[in-house]
């Protein structure tokens, strides 16, 4: 059983090597003449001012938190989805209740304006 996963491990390593190899080739072949101006952050030709660690909108956090909840729901749905054929109506109704609770939360965040970006 675990034998099947060996190719995947090797494939991941190869994937990293392809990208790593390309970048090593770039470092070896490309010339390097760094100077202060060239290595400063790009700001359309102006001198970079302030730090780039800006304050950013709290909505990005909100999206990340909502994502965790919903992604977890999807993870819960996976085994149910695979087994539904054998579970029949009982299994289906159980998931309807589960989704109903999820939808209550979804409607709440919608009404609270957590999904507004205007």
């Amino acid at each position: 059983m675990l034998d099947n996963y060996l190719p995947i491990l090797i494939f991941m390593i190869i994937g990293l090597l392809v990208g790593g190899g390309a970048m090593v080739a770039g470092f070896v072949l490309g010339e390097r003449r760094p100077d202060h101006q060239k290595n400063s952050p790009y700001e359309c030709g102006f001198e970079a001012f302030e730090t780039a660690r800006l304050k950013f909108d709290v909505r990005y956090y909100l999206v990340a938190i909502l994502f965790i909840i919903f992604d977890l729901e999807i993870a819960f749905l996976f085994p149910w989805a695979v087994a539904l054929d054998g579970l029949g109506m009982v299994g289906f109704l159980a998931m309807v209740i589960f989704l109903a609770i999820l939808v209550v939360g979804f409607v709440y965040e919608w009404k609270k304006g957590a999904l507004e970006w205007e």
Binding site: N4, P7, G15, G26, S40, A81, L84
Partner: protein, 344 residues
Amino acid sequence: MIELWNSLPEVIRILLKIVVILAPLMGLVAYYTLAERKIIGYMQIRIGPNRVGPRGLLQPIADAVKLMFKEIILPTRADKTLFIIAPLLTLAPALAAWAVFPFDENLVLADINAGLLYILALTSLGVYGVIIAGWASNSKYALLGALRSGAQIVAYEIAMGFALVGVLVAAGSLNLGDIVRAQSGNVFTWFWLPLLPLFLIYFISGLAETNRAPFDVAEGESEIVAGFHVEYSGMTFAVFFLGEYANMILISALSATLFLGGWLSPLPAAWVEGVFPLDSGFHWLLLKTFFFMFLFLWFRATFPRYRYDQIMRLGWKVFIPITIVWILVVGLAVVYKLPPWWSA
């Protein structure tokens, strides 16, 4: 030949198989960039690149060589380690996802039962490359691009995940080969028809996941110059670029496999029997994948860029409700064994 093959150690055999998958894939990525420039060129009544080699056919090779000899800039204020790791995190998952992909009946590198779960996990990893690149660059444009892109990818990830749950309900298996076999029959037993809303949502989410037009606010050349990879140059940029195109090909191939019957032939068996030996197989998968790859380019040439609030509204307020409803519809159809899809 077969004796020689069997005498090789297991690891070497796997490596050779991986090379057989990756080499054509990298070639496809290279020529996909040329196809993009040519096709969009013709759509805009230009002829596109035509100087390097006959009809510009050597253009991707020239681009690769040029990028290889370009200076790699490591910005002074950047976090150097993360700056280097970020492109790898974009490219490696886009390649490794092919490990479980079925190219034909029995033609798959790792025939695992959790295939679709593995692909969902790996395609989700792509967002790390974007976020880390934006953060490590220590540049305002890069940070803005990474934030936009991260929130967008994450939002569409949910719609995509729900669409995949619909496919699972319909197929009753996580194994990609079994998902294709569950669609066998004719063109109308493929999942695009019973799962039509999920099919559309899956592909559109794929566009958003790969930051392609019309959802390319993360790059937004005319607003935030190039978004998260503004500080990257030379080969570090090229790796991002390869990752993006490999991801587009992956999404195309997955759409073809999950909704258009993968390697299955659209022609009824009675028609082709004895006429020509092209019943079902890899060539059909290739044709279907090319169709979706062409859509990526066509959309880019056709649609203007969405505004950011429109993108978020489409993802959260349109796609997620539709997918939840359609999962229930498909669930009922499976429980009641709705013919012709689930009669057996």
